[in-house]
């Protein structure tokens, strides 16, 4: 690196000064230079994707009256605030979000500690297994848990009544507790990912110093380890709270069947006939305001704790010898992997292979007919598979393209707006998919885009583009600007530099971002449910539609979707290990 830089600046000194453009004004020439113009356009597209649904929602919330005779009014807000059902939905959503956050913090922190810092057997396997739910669909997870823990019909309930002589309705997944449980299982990997990095990178001498100077194991955890983990844990908790409270999939599968109101399902039903867009938009505005508040709170919190990010140096973390306790940690790991992955998958496979589901596997009903139907005969299911693949491949490609350009602007641009843009562009991360979908529905319902695959594609990109931008930004930041400057100094144009230097170097991040977007788009439900039309159903939407008719086909479709996600996950693991090797 040093040598490259040296030779670059040397030949840079020898190269002729760049020739100035003929006659053009300096500022205009600067703006039209490709390295400014192209990333700039990508950023403007990003801002438009954030701002337009946001503004549409705000405007619609301030319009009341009959369709066709809308007038500016605050009536939507006043009626909403007098509605008791709204408050109960708000309360239930807050409680489920908070409880799911606490539970996933417990799991995520403990599992990260087990993997990073203890001698629990099978740690390296669990490092991968703990992340599997991150790639699975929470909707499929919730549906699978109904096969496990529906009263009198779930596998676990039946097992309890058969073998333990317990009641057949001990577990009731159709409850607030059920929603919390499934949310916690699926958001644990988020917390895990947030804390395992700092846990691995932490200088072990920080803990050693506490031990040597008189603190025992527990006091060291209290005074040193825990406070050092807190910023990462708190960041993770905020993200989990905002996203889990706004998730539509799980309440739809577990709360709606018992008419338990939540905010996402309320928005959904407000858009169904007889629809009340004004009230839906009002809820949307409130949710967006809360999301922005949390995003700002997180930023403020982290900026006061700069040490959260100043770790590094690749220390070898010291493992704690657990002795007999390592069977307890192993049991917790197994419990999580069983609950989050293995049991739901087993139940899902049983149901998908049954022509008739009675809550217990029966070989008499075993069949491949559901798969045959879903893959070769059922029009809706086949259409949904094709639509999902189109949207996922196209969306991931466009997303990576825009994300690359945006991160180039954020990391290499010289604009003074960069920090503001960074905040603006990452706003959609916290906004629930169904709220953003509502925004695009209000915005585009009168346009030809409505009920096409395009509107779904736009909503997906708007909602998840920041994930790609963040991943690629991190990689650009890590490789630094020297290498590009060196290429420029050696006479390469900007386009050549990007093609020959930048893209090859960030390729692992591009592949990872593509796979991540693919996974998310294949399973996304919240943003889709308000935007699909006849002929543009996706896999998740098809599962919702089929859910009322045929258990077996839903399960078969879920298995097919899960196989796609698992394939993407395996590819992701491969690229991640190749990133580590390079």
């Amino acid at each position: 690196m040093k040598a490259g830089r040296g030779s670059g600046s040397l030949s840079g000194a020898l190269a002729p000064a760049p020739t100035s453009g003929l006659g053009a004004k300096p500022w205009a020439r600067n703006l039209l230079a490709p390295q400014i113009l192209i990333p700039g356009i990508a950023v403007l597209v990003g801002v438009a994707l954030v701002a337009s649904p946001f503004l549409a929602t705000v405007v619609r919330s301030a319009l009341a009256g009959a369709e066709g005779a809308l007038a500016p009014s605050l009536r939507n807000f006043t009626t909403l605030f007098q509605d008791e059902r709204f408050y109960s939905a708000l309360g239930i959503t807050a409680v489920t979000g908070l409880a799911a956050t606490l539970l996933s913090c417990f799991f995520g922190l403990t599992l990260a500690w087990i993997v990073a810092r203890t001698d629990t057997p099978g740690r390296s396997w669990f490092d991968t297994l703990n992340l599997v739910p991150f790639f699975l669909s929470p909707f499929v997870g919730a549906v699978s848990w109904t096969y496990l823990a529906a009263p009198h019909a779930g596998l676990l309930n039946n097992a309890i009544s058969r073998y333990l002589a317990g009641p057949g309705d001990l577990l009731n997944i159709f409850s607030i507790g059920g929603v919390i449980w499934v949310l916690a299982l699926f958001y644990t990997p988020y917390v895990y990912l947030f804390v395992i990095g700092p846990m691995r990178r932490m200088d072990p001498a920080l803990e050693d110093a506490a031990r040597v100077h008189g603190a025992g194991f527990l006091l060291t955890v209290r005074h040193v380890t825990a406070p050092l983990m807190l910023p990462a844990l708190f960041s993770g908790a905020l993200v989990v709270f905002v996203t889990s409270a706004g998730l539509f999939d799980v309440p739809l599968a577990l709360a709606s069947p018992r008419a338990i109101p939540t905010i996402p399902t309320t928005v959904y039903s407000l858009v169904q006939y007889p629809s009340d867009y004004g009230r839906a938009a009002t809820i949307g505005v409130l949710v967006m305001a809360i999301t922005v508040f949390f995003a700002l709170a997180q930023r403020a919190y982290l900026s006061r704790r700069s040490y959260a990010t100043v770790t590094g140096k690749g220390y070898r973390p010291r493992t704690v010898q657990l002795g007999r306790w390592r069977y307890a940690t192993l049991a917790l790991e197994l419990f999580y992997v069983l609950s989050g992955v293995v049991l739901p998958m087993i139940a899902l496979i049983f149901v998908s292979l049954s022509s008739l589901w009675t809550g217990w596997p029966a070989f008499a009903y075993m069949t491949l007919g559901n798969f045959d139907q879903v893959l070769f005969h059922h029009d809706l299911a086949r259409r949904a598979l094709v639509n999902s693949l189109i949207v996922a491949v196209l969306g991931a490609t466009i997303g990576v393209l825009l994300g690359t350009l945006q991160s180039y602007y954020l990391q290499r641009g010289r604009s003074r707006l960069r920090t503001i843009m960074d905040s603006v562009l990452s706003l959609p991360l916290g906004i629930p998919g169904i709220i953003l979908g509502l925004g695009f529905l209000i915005l585009l319902i009168r346009t030809p885009l409505y009920a096409t695959l395009w509107i779904i594609l736009i909503a997906y990109i708007a909602r998840f583009l920041p994930l790609a931008t963040r991943g690629i930004s991190a990689m650009l930041l890590a490789i630094g600007g020297d290498l590009e400057e060196s290429a420029r100094a050696n006479g390469a144009s900007w386009a050549q530099t990007v093609r020959v230097i930048v893209l090859p170097l960030i390729k692992p991040a591009l592949v990872a971002a593509w796979l991540m977007l693919f996974v998310i788009f294949i399973r996304e439900l919240g943003a889709t449910i308000l935007l699909y039309g006849q002929g543009t159903e996706t896999i998740s939407v098809a599962m919702v539609i089929l859910g009322e008719q045929n258990f077996g086909q839903v399960a078969a479709l879920a298995v097919v979707q899960t196989l796609m996600l698992v394939a993407a996950f395996m590819l992701f693991r491969l690229t991640r290990s190749s990133i580590l090797e390079s």
């Binding site: 200088d203 001498a205 920080l206 050693d208 110093a209 506490a210 031990r211 040597v212 100077h213 008189g214 603190a215 025992g216 006091l219 005074h223 040193v224 406070p227 050092l228 807190l230 704790r305 700069s306 040490y307 100043v310």
Partner: protein, 403 residues
């Protein structure tokens, strides 16, 4: 075993006693039986190249590492004994420690960092406060107590780590390469300050370093380690002048090392027949290096030596005296002529590489010496500046060139 020399010391006067420490890391022997002692109020340095096991020894004394076998006693407490099944936790060993990375806690202020050992020991808050003020003044950080610890320079963080290690007046302070992360100028300054502080407070200290100057400057005794073994232990002056093994010699700057054979023993060779003139501690011998050069030096080992036996001859480039060729040879002055092969000007001095027959000698001349490349030059080495080791130890030399 070499380490037996060290463990043979009288145990009653030693404050810290490390006996036959062994440790295996994933199949590699990090420590292969390390023993040494530290007298009360003195500083012992563990000196050696990276990977020699010195830090493992220190961490074993602190209780941060569990050796496979051996015994560690601090004062009258046995803190580790593999035979007795004793292994005290780090927090009850009552030591202070300064880490290489400083290990200053980033989420605490300077005062919170420094006061931690007292807080953990439930010392009353008022007393903690006054002792923090005292110790911060001692390390030159007056008035910085309220600062966040990350808001300090490297040198200041080092002082925080030092203050934290001594505030609870531990009976033993352990230093793990504390100065290695500082730049050269600050390192010299901190070295002096550390010495003054130790003189003033009189704590017993064990100091791990790979820097020979640090070891010589700060300690009363230096333990040189290599490949998990103690290569030698001596007071700094003795160690510097009379290293006991080729490894120690090379590590301490004997940059001329030659394999040779004994040409003569006793009074042969020159007219000088009185070995006592040159310090009395050795038999004069002649060592032939290459085909033609025979140097006069002293055999101090005491072991039997036969004519023709392989030996290793070592001397420092600074001890080589340069002169114009053609002058008169004093008897026994080891004066030879050669030609300058390379010459590097360093300001106050110049490094020379001189070819004399099959020998290539490194020499340091004054900055104003003017021997040019290819010129003839005379050089001489005083016999008492030469060290001779029996040739069976050449293995140690081999291991060294890999470093």
């Amino acid at each position: 075993m070499k380490s037996d020399n060290a463990s043979g010391r009288d145990g009653t006067h030693t404050f810290v006693e490390v006996t036959a420490l062994r440790k295996n890391f994933d199949g590699t022997l990090a420590l292969q039986g390390v023993s040494f002692g530290v007298a009360r109020g003195t500083t012992v340095s563990l000196l050696g190249p990276s990977g020699c096991g010195k830090t493992t020894v220190l961490r074993s004394i602190a209780g941060l590492e569990t050796p496979d076998a051996g015994r560690v006693r601090i004062s009258d407490t046995v803190v580790f004994d593999s035979d007795g099944g004793i292994n005290l936790a780090p927090e009850v060993r009552q030591v202070g420690m300064v880490f290489q990375s400083y290990a200053v806690w980033p989420h605490m202020t300077v005062a919170e960092n420094v006061g931690f050992p007292l807080k953990i020991r439930r010392v009353p808050a008022a007393e903690i406060e006054s002792r923090i003020a005292d110790v911060l003044a001692l390390v030159g950080l007056e008035g910085l107590g309220a600062r966040p610890a990350t808001n300090l320079s490297g040198g200041q963080q080092q002082r925080v780590a030092l203050a934290r290690a001594i505030i609870h007046e531990p009976r033993l302070v352990l230093f793990d390469e504390p100065l290695s992360n500082l730049d050269a100028k600050l390192r010299d300054q901190m070295r002096t300050e550390l010495k003054l502080l130790q003189n003033r407070l009189g704590f017993t200290a064990i100091y791990v370093t790979h820097d020979q100057e640090e070891a010589l400057a700060l300690s009363d005794n230096v333990v040189v380690m290599n490949h998990g073994l103690v290569e030698g232990m001596a007071a700094p002056r003795e160690l510097f002048a009379r290293p006991t093994t080729p490894f120690v010699a090379n590590f301490l700057g004997f940059d001329n090392m030659f394999e040779g054979t004994v040409a003569w023993i006793g009074d042969a060779g020159t007219g000088d027949s009185s070995p006592s003139v040159s310090g009395g501690a050795g038999i004069p011998i002649g060592v032939t290096v290459g085909e033609d050069v025979t140097l006069r030096c002293f055999w101090r080992d005491g072991a039997q030596l036969a004519r023709g036996a392989p030996v290793i001859l070592a001397f420092r480039s600074e001890r080589v005296t340069l002169g114009s060729p053609g002058g008169k040879d004093e008897p026994g002055s080891n004066r030879y002529e050669g030609s300058v092969e390379a010459c590097v000007y360093l300001g106050t001095c110049q490094d020379y590489l001189i070819e004399a027959g099959s020998m290539r000698v490194r020499a340091v001349g004054p900055g104003d010496s003017t021997f040019g490349r290819g010129e003839r030059v005379a050089f001489s080495i005083r016999p008492e500046d030469c060290c001779v080791f029996s040739g069976g130890q050449s293995l140690g030399l081999k291991g060294l060139t890999e470093e």
